[in-house]
């Protein structure tokens, strides 16, 4: 069952149920050759299940997985393996590499034995040349004879990468690969790893619950929630235009401001009236406006006699972008809010009241739990 296709991985209407519970429902996803996809979502949303299904550790109940089987021999370039519930393929025949959260290095084998574990059927000469290349590439030279427990966390991760790359897979799965790494080292390693995958033209899917990792590491992002993929695309587009309340909420793209439509082009909020450029359908329901900190500013009238204060400072912290304030509204009706994020270089005091205004920008608002954008 092989046919031609340009994608490295294609997932069509994939469903997985375990012990009678639907863990994944109708998941569709495709990954072009050389692309890195970041799979994000809250705990228990099905990210790891999707990864394990692709690897072959969990069987799908419906749907199709089409995996490129490039690699072992150059002659089969462009051939694909189609996996369905009826036609399953064992993990060892999928030619997929995986890097586990705790690296899963074989503790009884040395670094060298770990790396050549997956290629021991190849000739000694090929084994040695790949080993040498990988050791050099991953800066592991002189560590061949060490055992995993004699290595630092960063070195262990490099060995895991080398081991996964040795059989030259075209698709690499990474299960929270950076979660055990010190925060200071993490960024450096992510950039290094991204460069490596790009150089070797390896497609990768990596799972994380840390949104910052996605923005550093991935070409493409897919946000999962309760077994569904809510949105996928390039990270900038998803940030600019989240299609769903949960997507914006999980990625913490801004604070939520309750708003109510008062005319076809105007909304009322606790920070004043908001004008939208396009006329939209009138909806009387309370909506939530996604408000990023950069779109809020101190009113020119703040502190003057004409100025009418609308927020109170509840919390102050110091960040590299200046003082970070959490604000709550002074009104107590249905438009009231708390925990509105606001950055300023000016120092205010706790309990101080201010007057804020919203800058003109492309507004994104949702009626919570439904998908609707207005602009």
């Amino acid at each position: 069952m092989k046919k031609r296709n340009s994608n490295q991985l294609e997932i069509k209407k994939l469903c997985v149920s375990l012990q009678g519970n639907d863990i994944l429902s109708e998941v569709n996803l495709s990954l072009a050759s050389g692309d890195i996809l970041g799979l994000v979502g809250p705990s228990g949303c099905g990210k790891s299940t999707l990864l394990n299904t692709i690897a072959g550790f969990i069987n799908q109940s419906h749907g199709e997985l089409i995996v490129g089987v490039l690699g072992v021999g150059e002659h089969d370039d462009g051939e694909l393996l189609i996996i369905t519930p009826e036609h399953n393929v064992a993990p060892e025949h999928r030619n997929i590499g995986m890097i586990f959260q705790d690296y899963a290095l074989f503790p009884h084998l040395t670094v060298e034995q770990n790396i050549i574990f997956g290629i021991n059927k190849l000739s000694k000469r090929v084994q040695q040349s790949r080993l040498k290349n990988l050791m050099h590439l991953l800066k592991l030279t002189n560590l061949e004879a060490r055992f995993p427990h004699q290595l630092s966390g960063g070195q262990q991760q490099r060995v895991a990468i080398a081991r996964a790359l040795a059989p030259q897979p075209k698709l690499l799965l990474l299960d929270e690969p950076f979660s055990n790494i010190d925060a200071r080292l993490r960024n450096e390693l992510m950039l290094e790893m991204r460069q490596l995958l790009k150089n070797l033209n390896i497609s990768a899917i990596f799972v994380t619950h840390n949104k910052d990792e996605v923005f550093t590491f991935a070409d493409k992002i897919a946000v999962m929630h309760q077994g569904h993929i809510l949105q996928s695309g390039c990270p900038a587009a998803v940030c600019q235009q989240p299609n769903n309340w949960q997507v914006a909420d999980f990625l913490q793209l801004g604070s939520w401001l309750p708003v109510k439509q008062i005319s076809s082009t105007q909304f009322q909020s606790a920070l004043g009236k908001i004008n939208i450029s396009k006329e939209g359908k009138r909806d009387t329901a309370l909506q939530q406006l996604l408000l990023k900190p950069q779109y809020i500013e101190l009113s020119q009238l703040s502190g003057s006699a004409q100025g009418k204060v609308n927020v109170r400072v509840d919390n102050i912290s110091v960040t590299e972008q200046g003082y970070h304030y959490l604000l709550s509204s002074l009104v107590v009706d249905e438009l009231a809010f708390d925990q509105l994020s606001f950055y300023s270089n000016e120092l205010f005091s706790l309990g101080q009241t201010l007057m804020l205004v919203i800058k003109e920008h492309k507004f994104v608002m949702f009626i919570p739990t439904t998908i609707q954008a207005a602009g």
Partner: protein, 547 residues
């Protein structure tokens, strides 16, 4: 925490207990090493090479068979979807409750020339005499190895099973993605990772095999333990028996060292192991073989001998037998209660010292006192005799000198020596149980009472002892059960006309009259089941997925 003066007293008591427990073995070793050269030359020229060879061959065979039985059954239970695994999982531990000498007797009864199996075969094939057919002889070194392995393999099974279950399944998953099939992953990853656990279990099996006395004696296979017994009780030659016991001690030392080395090798453990086992799906034929193999072990190691015992009891038991059981039962219970209570009390003292003292070497007394677990009952008995017989003689000499009535063998010829030997042998069990109990109590609890103005003993009485209650009880129970079952030490040390359940059953076996003691034997087996139930209490619930 202990203040200085109390610490000094406690330290004194701890070292005193630990060293006192060790002294008899040291005395015996000293006597053994200092035995005359002629004696060794004589032993070497006569029986010693055979005894040593038999002991070694028996050890190697039993270890090999136990590893084969134990590792295969553990792998089947953990890694496959074998039918009936939930029942087999704990049934495979039951043979541990069955004393090997009982199995030896029952199987000899069943498989020898006059037994039902050969009778049936002769009737079936119309054979007339032994020359018409070949049938294996169970009363050989090979037969003894199989019988002993059938009841000792659960050590390997339990430790290997735990090792397989605790392994991080991501390691197996990684090997699958690197091109290995499920079976290859087992051989190249799971099995090598379980090697330290299997080595520990093999050392334990070796210790138990070297300590076995009754089975080899019944099968007339001469090993070092039977030689010690014969030399002392047959020829009354204490020096030679001491020398033989010292040689056996060296073998045991080898087993202990290999166990310690294997433990040191157990360093691999993931912090958050993935326990979702992917089961190997067996084909119909494989199912048949796998479950057949496990059931055969359970049946041969426990169910069949137990049914034979029940059958015997049903056929031959009567009121007189029950009445005869009573005094020996009381004797057994008496020494077991003494041994259990003393051992538990000492263990509590040593464990608390280890926990609460500031000493750098605070764990030392507990570790020294635990050394006895490896020493065979026969050797311990020789150690008691080597130490206490001279003291008894001295006491009697003094009595004679002052023309007082001589008290006899007050130490070496009374239940004192038996209880002393038990405390030495079972200290490790009580230490280990109470120590694992105290490890459950957070360290901060030790500091809290002092911050509330409460003294050391009030703290122990109100905090530690209530929290340790169940561990103390389990420790007591485990030692009690082991003491009820122990045989070789009592055989050598019991006062004249003093019978316990196990010596009575053994005596009846020697006289080929087990029918008369079937009830006692059943009681010994049932007592042996108690620790297994305890071991089984923490049945781990692992996630399993089929692939």
């Amino acid at each position: 925490m202990i203040e200085k003066q109390k610490n000094r007293r406690w330290r004194g008591a701890s070292y005193f207990i630990a060293l006192t427990l060790m002294i008899p073995v040291l005395v015996m070793l000293y006597a053994g090493i200092n035995a005359s050269n002629e004696l060794f030359i004589h032993l070497w020229q006569t029986v010693l090479p055979d005894y040593i060879a038999n002991t070694l061959i028996l050890g190697v065979f039993v270890v090999l068979l136990s590893v084969i039985f134990g590792v295969i059954s553990a792998a089947v239970i953990v890694h496959t979807n074998v039918v009936g695994k939930n029942a087999l999982r704990w049934l495979l531990m039951l043979p541990l409750a069955m004393p090997a000498y009982l199995v030896a007797y029952l199987y000899t009864d069943m498989f020898d020339y006059a037994g039902p199996v050969q009778r049936a075969l002769r009737a079936w094939f119309s054979w007339q005499s032994p020359s018409d057919y070949w049938f294996f002889d169970i009363r050989t070194l090979g037969g003894a190895s199989v019988v002993i392995a059938l009841v000792l393999f659960p050590y390997v099974y339990m430790l290997a099973r735990t090792a397989f279950e605790q392994q991080d399944q991501n390691l197996l998953r990684a090997s699958r993605l690197l091109g290995l099939s499920a079976k290859q992953s087992f051989y190249k990853v799971a099995l090598p990772l379980a090697r330290p656990a299997i080595a520990i279990a093999a050392s334990l099996v070796l210790m138990e095999t070297l300590a076995d006395f009754a089975t080899v004696q019944y099968f007339a296979v001469n090993t070092l333990t039977t030689a010690i017994y014969d030399t002392w009780l047959g020829y009354n030659d204490l020096a030679s028996a001491n020398a033989l016991a010292s040689i056996l001690m060296l073998f045991i030392l080898f087993a202990v060292v290999s166990e310690q080395r294997a433990r040191a090798g157990q360093t691999y453990q993931s912090e958050r192991p993935n326990k979702n086992h992917q089961l190997i799906k067996l084909t119909m034929i494989q199912q048949l073989f796998a479950s057949g193999f496990c059931w055969l072990l359970v049946i041969a190691g426990f169910i069949l001998p137990f049914i034979l015992l029940l059958f015997m009891a049903w056929q031959y038991s009567n009121i007189a037998q029950l009445q005869a059981l009573l005094p020996t039962g009381i004797n057994s219970i008496k020494i077991a209660v003494w041994a259990a209570s003393l051992t538990t009390f000492f263990a509590l003292l040593l464990v608390l010292f280890q926990r609460l003292s500031h000493d750098r070497w605070r764990a030392l007394p507990m570790n020294i006192s635990g050394f006895g677990y490896a020493i065979p009952g026969t050797v311990l008995a020789m150690a008691m005799l080597a130490t206490f017989a001279p003291i008894d003689h001295a006491i009697n000499d003094v009595a004679k000198y002052f023309s007082l009535p001589t008290p006899g063998l007050v130490l070496s010829g009374s239940i004192f020596a038996i209880i002393f030997a038990y405390v030495v042998r079972f200290a490790a069990i009580a230490n280990g149980t109470i120590d694992s109990g105290i490890k459950q109590i957070p360290k901060s609890i030790d500091y809290a009472p002092a911050s509330l103005g409460v003294g050391l003993f009030t703290m122990l009485r109100k905090i530690h002892l209530p929290l340790l209650k169940s561990s103390i009880f389990v420790a007591w129970l485990l030692v009690f059960v082991e003491a009820m079952k122990e045989l070789p030490a009592v055989l050598l040390l019991r006062p004249f006309n003093f019978e316990t359940l196990s010596t009575q059953v053994y005596q009846l076996i020697s006289d080929e009259m087990l029918e008369q003691g079937a009830l006692g034997a059943i009681l010994i087996v049932l007592l042996g089941l108690l620790p297994i139930i305890w071991l089984n209490r923490a049945k781990t619930g692992n996630g399993e997925e089929e692939v």
